[in-house]
């Protein structure tokens, strides 16, 4: 995870999540809490979010 200014970028093969959203990059709004974002692997992210339900 790389933080520059108020932007967070996921490393290669990783994604950022706040528990609800998956992202490759996050541009934080003023006052937003950066600590809610953490990295998960892309493989783990897909397993978490993908549904087999119709």
């Amino acid at each position: 995870m790389r933080i520059k200014d108020n932007n967070i970028y996921a490393d290669d093969g990783m994604m950022l999540t706040d528990g609800k959203v998956l992202a490759k990059a996050v541009f934080l709004g003023d006052g937003a809490d950066a600590s809610v974002w953490h990295e998960v692997s892309e493989k783990e992210a897909v397993q978490t979010e993908r549904s087999d339900e119709f």
């Binding site: 932007n7 998956l22 992202a23 490759k24 990059a25």
Partner: protein, 222 residues
């Protein structure tokens, strides 16, 4: 303007719709009015057909949803509805495609040309971008909260409403309009990173979203 000039202007307008250069008598002007109306309606229909496509399609056992579009749209929606509970009689789910991702989505979903074929698998893997709930006399829109890999309630045999629209605006204009339309108060919103960086550079993106960030909006690029 004299009466004669006004009548000539009317005759010129009629000739503009119906063609020809012949002078028109008053009787001929009166007789031409239905033709003018028809020509005007035809022109309007043609403009409408170039911009908007609306249809109802059935979810087919083997093919999912298939619809032939007359143009490549800026926006494409597939809308379903289900009765979930008495308190929320109908919930409509929207699957929204934007122009920048249309080619990519087409490739993913096996679309050839402008014929859209949404297979069961494609629908299941598509992103549910937003939804709204309809009660007796109101519609509640919920903005995108997450990049869920979930679309709910696609049912075989059910009818789905499809809507395609071509605005003629550039990808950048569409992106800027969506960001400008974010309500006051802040929150989080997810955009397609591919779409954003196929449209603008990162520096341009940061410039476009700067006012929204100052008002508390966080942008996640999926």
């Amino acid at each position: 303007m004299s009466v004669n000039e006004k009548m000539t202007a009317i005759a010129d307008a009629i000739r503009g719709y119906t063609g020809g250069t012949d002078k028109l008598s008053l009787d001929a002007i009166a007789a031409a009015i239905p033709d003018v109306f028809g020509a005007g309606e035809g022109k309007k229909d043609s403009e409408w057909r170039d911009k908007v496509y609306v249809d109802t399609v059935s979810f087919n056992d083997t093919n999912g949803i298939t619809v032939s579009l007359p143009f490549v749209p800026d926006r494409f929606c597939v809308i379903s509805y289900e009765a979930l509970a008495m308190s929320t009689p109908y919930t409509y789910y929207l699957l929204v495609f934007d122009r920048a991702s249309f080619a990519q989505r087409c490739a993913q979903m096996g679309i050839v040309g402008e014929t859209l074929s949404l297979t069961s698998t494609a629908l299941n893997n598509a992103t549910r971008d937003t939804y709204f709930t309809v009660s007796e006399n109101s519609v509640i829109f919920t903005p995108p909260q997450s990049s869920y890999w979930k679309t709910s309630l696609w049912r075989k045999g059910a009818d789905y409403f499809v809507f395609a629209y071509r605005s003629g605006k550039s990808d950048r204009q569409l992106l800027e309009e969506e960001i400008a339309a974010l309500p006051a108060g802040g929150g989080s919103v997810v955009f397609s990173g591919k779409r954003v960086f196929e449209t603008v550079s990162e520096a341009e993106w940061e410039s476009i979203i700067a006012p929204a960030r100052e008002s508390g909006w966080t942008f996640a690029l999926a």
